[in-house]
Symmetry: C2
Subunit: 405 residues, 2 copies
């Protein structure tokens, strides 16, 4: 007699997570080196040594009552200030510690932001393909997720489709930049256009529309791409960040919500978000790792590792005849299912994903991101996995591209 | 333009947390040794050295990808098994790792349990005085919190009042044992009576009524008191646990939800709770501290320290003429406001709490636990705070007891 609301989730558990569990089973069965598991965004680059050292130093140097005790629900003031200062140096912003609320990763950060903002029936817009948990998060507060279909040429934002989806009930818009699952980085032009549409619609409807910028991949960019800092383009922006990817700490659950002074009624919004952090049951972000990231604000994971994977995989797959979006950010590669054109994309995708499993290749179907006809490959795996998977992808290519040509 | 649902919380922020912030300010103003802050359940006994050592060992010995990476949403299997095994040894139970879901503390554990069970309008019963966050947690899922008035003689459960509050809409009952704020341990007789009433009502209404046993203070008992392990008395029991108090790790946010096989549709309930952990945004309990508690299942904080505080405070206050419930568990002392009888208890309490501040004594009013006319003293403070506070309490006694006699 569990909740009625939970039942659909049981029936339709996260395909990504299911594949993660399946990957673990296959690794036991065939050996980990014979399984090419591209399913989960679990970083393969270890956390920088400085993070571990910071944790050990804190454990050695600081009073355990301070290290493991309660702090203010928004986090340790000195950690929040260190992060604000670092952002200001990098982006020319003027944040103070008070603008930040430390959270249990970005997942919890998004929930804090949505709990702060949403009343039942409020609409939240996001852009397909998108991280499917967004729907669960919005539904947690009885909001309605509205999705904008993609521009399948560029996978930048489909501006006219976006404009058409905004209504009087639109309370917030979620973007994810760099993007999971496409690996695309939204350009400054895209962000400017998005901001202009939001300004226009705020004026038209006479109330704030919040832009929630989910940025766990901010530092994971390649080819010299830059990720616009959205608060500089649109006042009612709330940034949600996580150290899961940039410092390879996904299990530690550490991130923050950033609410600039420019946000409407910002002091009240910050207070409400702090309370949301508390009453969600999280209370505060985990303390030791919170102190550790405060000492490592200028650290980052080994980008060169991901970059080599990215190039090898993208070039390898392209040579085999697959059509891929060239990834510029995050650690995902977005590939078209060769047989998806002109047929039922969902069916073609299911056949393709299933065929890949024959070759011990685990990839996530695009329908897991509300965009059937594609697959996502998380290339945050060992380089050997990339290299050794390519002959298996060649077999898949034989089956799906050569044969169907 | 924050959520309408959040507005009442802003107006009525946690009195305990506000006092915590006030205490920090007073400490800056008058010096920490001149402020007697009994407001927050922030343990003053440091985490056992073994916990810090376990953390450092794990950081030194284990692969950082394992230590800081994603694991199954329910937690590391080996950690869950170690905890199950430890419970089985201590309580003669037969849990397996699968019965446990590691959570971001008990706060998040309660939210996971409630999210798993509640549909809008479902009633959840708890017993005054109670930890006021219960109301926020139940409201998170549009449930209705129903409270049972206390038996002010014993502060055990008021059985007849409880029976009268159960309706066809009752989905769950929350108990907190040992109890915050009273320091009372519910006896085996109380638990048996509670179980009998629940069995009777389950039969009468033809559906499960879940008993959620919130047990962060399980190991903090004195005078040889024992805390009945509730799963042994009632099948539909879900235990929520935290290491915040037993291992002095409140900032680290680590605990678990235990769903025994005897719970109705237990496999589905465990799956749903695991999904609830994920979609709440927590994803999983923090990884390093999760591994550390797995290595420290037989550790506990220094009980003798709390026991000395308990005795000194209880005896000191009783000698001064205050009426206190003799605490047997947790680290709280529940004291009657001397002037609360026969007048407006809330008003008397407010005057008393405010007068205490003159002497730099910070105590939480009973109305913060839905039981006006009392105050809670968290004695998880330094022994010096206890000893030095007693002359100040003597002044309070002069003002409220001697003068009013």
């Amino acid at each position: 007699m569990i909740s009625e609301k939970m039942r659909p989730f049981l029936a339709n558990n996260s395909a990504i997570r299911m594949m993660f569990e399946e990957g673990k089973k296959m690794a036991e069965l065939y050996g980990a080196d014979k399984v090419y598991d591209f399913s989960l965004g679990n970083p393969n680059v270890p956390a920088p040594q400085r993070v571990n050292q910071a944790m050990k130093d804190i454990l050695d140097e600081e009073d355990p009552l301070f290290v493991h005790g309660y702090m203010s629900n928004a986090g340790y003031p000195e950690v929040r200030e260190a992060i604000a200062e670092n952002l200001n140096q990098r982006f020319g912003t003027k944040f103070a510690g008070r603008n930040l609320i430390m959270t249990v990763g970005a997942g919890s950060g998004l929930n804090v932001a949505l709990k702060t903002l949403l009343d039942p029936g409020d609409e939240v817009i996001t852009f397909a393909p998108y991280f499917l948990e967004y729907r669960a998060y919005v539904t947690n507060y009885d909001g309605v997720l509205v999705t904008v279909e993609p521009d399948q040429e560029t996978f930048q934002i489909n501006r006219e489709a976006f404009r058409a989806k905004i209504t009087a009930k639109t309370k917030a818009v979620i973007i994810n930049n760099p993007n999971n699952p496409t690996g695309v980085v939204y350009s400054e032009e895209t962000i400017r256009a998005l901001a202009a549409i939001l300004e226009e619609k705020q004026k038209a409807y006479g109330h704030a529309i919040y832009l929630i910028s989910d940025e766990p991949y901010r530092e994971l960019v390649f080819d010299g791409a830059t990720v616009p800092f959205v608060t500089e383009y649109y006042d009612n922006t709330i940034v949600v960040y996580s150290y899961s990817k940039s410092l390879s700490l996904p299990g530690e659950r550490i991130g923050y919500v950033l609410i600039p002074d420019e946000v409407e009624e910002s002091a009240m919004t910050i207070d409400a978000a702090t309370i949301a952090n508390r009453i969600s049951g999280c209370v505060n972000a985990p303390s030791l790792v919170q102190l550790a990231v405060g000492r490592c604000v200028d650290c980052q994971a080994d980008l060169a590792f991901y970059d080599r994977n990215r190039k090898t995989l993208y070039e390898g797959l392209t040579e085999l005849g697959f059509t891929c979006v060239r990834p510029q950010g995050a650690f995902y590669l977005w590939m078209k299912v060769p047989t998806a054109d002109g047929t039922d994309a969902s069916a073609a995708e299911a056949v393709f994903v299933s065929a890949a499993k024959k070759y011990h290749i685990l990839i996530v179907p695009g329908s897991s991101f509300a965009c059937p006809g594609y697959v996502r490959l998380a290339y945050c795996v060992s380089y050997e996995t990339i290299v050794n998977s390519l002959p298996e992808f060649a077999k898949l290519s034989q089956e799906f591209i050569v044969k169907t040509c």
